[in-house]
Amino acid sequence: MGKFITIHSFKGGTGKSYLSVNLSTIYALRGKKIALLDLDFRAPTLYEVFGNNSSKCYINDVLDGTAAIEDCLVDCSSKIENRGKLYVAFADFTTDAIREMVSKGRRWEIEALRRLLMLRKKLVDDLQFDYVIADTSPGILYLSINAVVAADIAVVVSTLDDSDINGTERMLRELYEIFEKKTFVVVNKAIGLQNEEKQKIIENLGKKYRTSIIGVLPCICDVGALKRSTILAIKNPNHPFIKMIEDIATKIENA
């Protein structure tokens, strides 16, 4: 049975999209059939990674009820050298579309939630994707929370910034715990940690967040310097950063 995984965070800039892309790639390379959805309608980024010149429609249209997901999924397996099955549904990245999405009213959000639930069922049950990975907008907007409601597993990405830690803690307690979602936390952009410090952080944050920390990713300059269109899991699969994400992927798989 397939799983719908949301990648979410309290604040922006935590590295959700980067994690989403590399996680999806790693699963595809492991032989899984993967759908990656760009649900970050405020700041879509997946089109920068995969290019988007063959999409007939956007995921915005699916949530509007004017398109079917089958028409919006783009086979991007060539981007991972055809070594796996990876499909992407892009968000409309034009300024008008972004403005429209952030000003949607409650009525639309209610229907969007229903359509997202049906979308999940379609992708997992009918189209038989092993994993559907949804890259969401940060924060507690409707658009993000709808994706959390639809999720089987939620991965929350946090940095070690105090405001991020406190905000993440509140979000986990006031949303995720109430929804009783299977939730994991990944700490990203952790600067200059030695092994012992890392262990301490995992313990302390684990108690604070009351959930499993399944990875602490360091801040590595050569990773940050890469162009958005480069998928590190393909370019340098033996990079220590990718080895850590592979470990995260395995923990999610075994959940």
């Binding site: 004017t66 009525r107 639930l117 409601v149």
Partner: protein
């Protein structure tokens, strides 16, 4: 003292103004009432249409049922019970409660009752 016909003209003019003002007041009142009516409809929709925030405010037992049904989209009570781990009869009660609250639809298919979160409202 003004002559009577001029005074009468003045009075007609003033009545005319008063009439205009009264019509303006009536028009404003109608607009206010319309806004209040549409707010009532919106408030009503707030109470009977489920969104993520309303889901958070549901009692725990109903939210558990709703989250299970959300996963299945459309299901029988026994199918929801398999996910929640509660008895079928209990889930049936909770699902019917959610139907009465307007959050879930109930449909009959081939002698069986299904509960659904599928849309009832379509965009134009």
């Amino acid at each position: 003292m003004e002559s009577s016909p001029e005074r009468i003209d003045d009075l007609y003019r003033e009545f005319g103004w008063i009439k205009d003002y009264l019509e303006e007041i009536l028009s404003l009142q109608r607009r206010i009432l319309q806004k209040l009516d549409s707010k009532k409809t919106e408030d009503h929709s707030k109470d009977t249409e489920l969104d993520a925030w309303l889901l958070l405010r549901l009692p725990d037992h109903l939210r558990k049922t709703m989250m299970a049904l959300a996963k299945l989209v459309e299901a029988r009570a026994d199918e929801v019970a398999k996910i929640t781990g509660r008895a079928r009869a209990i889930e049936s009660g909770y699902l019917n409660q959610l139907v009465r609250m307007g959050y879930v639809k109930k449909v009959r298919k081939k002698h069986q009752i299904y509960f659904s979160v599928e849309e009832g409202y379509k965009h134009g």
